[in-house]
Subunit: 91 residues, 2 copies
């Protein structure tokens, strides 16, 4: 729902993770090396991002690869527009 999306975006570390994933997919380990928090902490953040539909994960052997899910952006834009009741073309 919209609540999990907004909540997911409310944490600065999670927003940094999203920005990092713009450069391309990365494994949990690679991401963990770039952030000061413990791996368990980041794993929690990944989970929040996943539940919000902001990222996808895929296991590749021992690794888990995370990537941006750009398709949620449409939903996000719709919610933002709804919050400000901006006119939109479709629907």
């Amino acid at each position: 729902m919209s609540d999990s999306l907004f909540k997911a975006l409310a944490d600065p570390t999670r927003r940094e993770v999203l920005r990092r994933l713009q450069a391309g997919p990365a494994t949990a380990g690679e991401l963990a090396e770039e952030f000061p928090q413990a791996r368990a902490t980041l794993s929690h953040h990944f989970n929040v991002l996943k539940n919000a539909g902001l990222v996808r994960s895929e296991r590749r052997g021992q690794h888990v690869v995370y990537s941006l899910n750009t398709s949620v952006f449409e939903d996000l834009a719709r919610m933002m527009a709804d919050l400000f009741r901006l006119e939109r073309r479709s629907q």
Copy 2:
């Protein structure tokens, strides 16, 4: 900065207040009648929304009128786009 904005949007009651203000400005008292929370609680929410630049307030005698500040939407759109590195035309 962006953190206060995302944090402000993270609470469902505050998002409801924003939607309510789409219908037009309202006093703290009018808003308080439409929400189950105590006036003190809502006053706190108004403050968070104000600090994030999402609403404006203006005292009118005994009343304080709150209204949507639609100009932040540009900033918001920019931040969202930045999170997903979407191509934009200007800048």
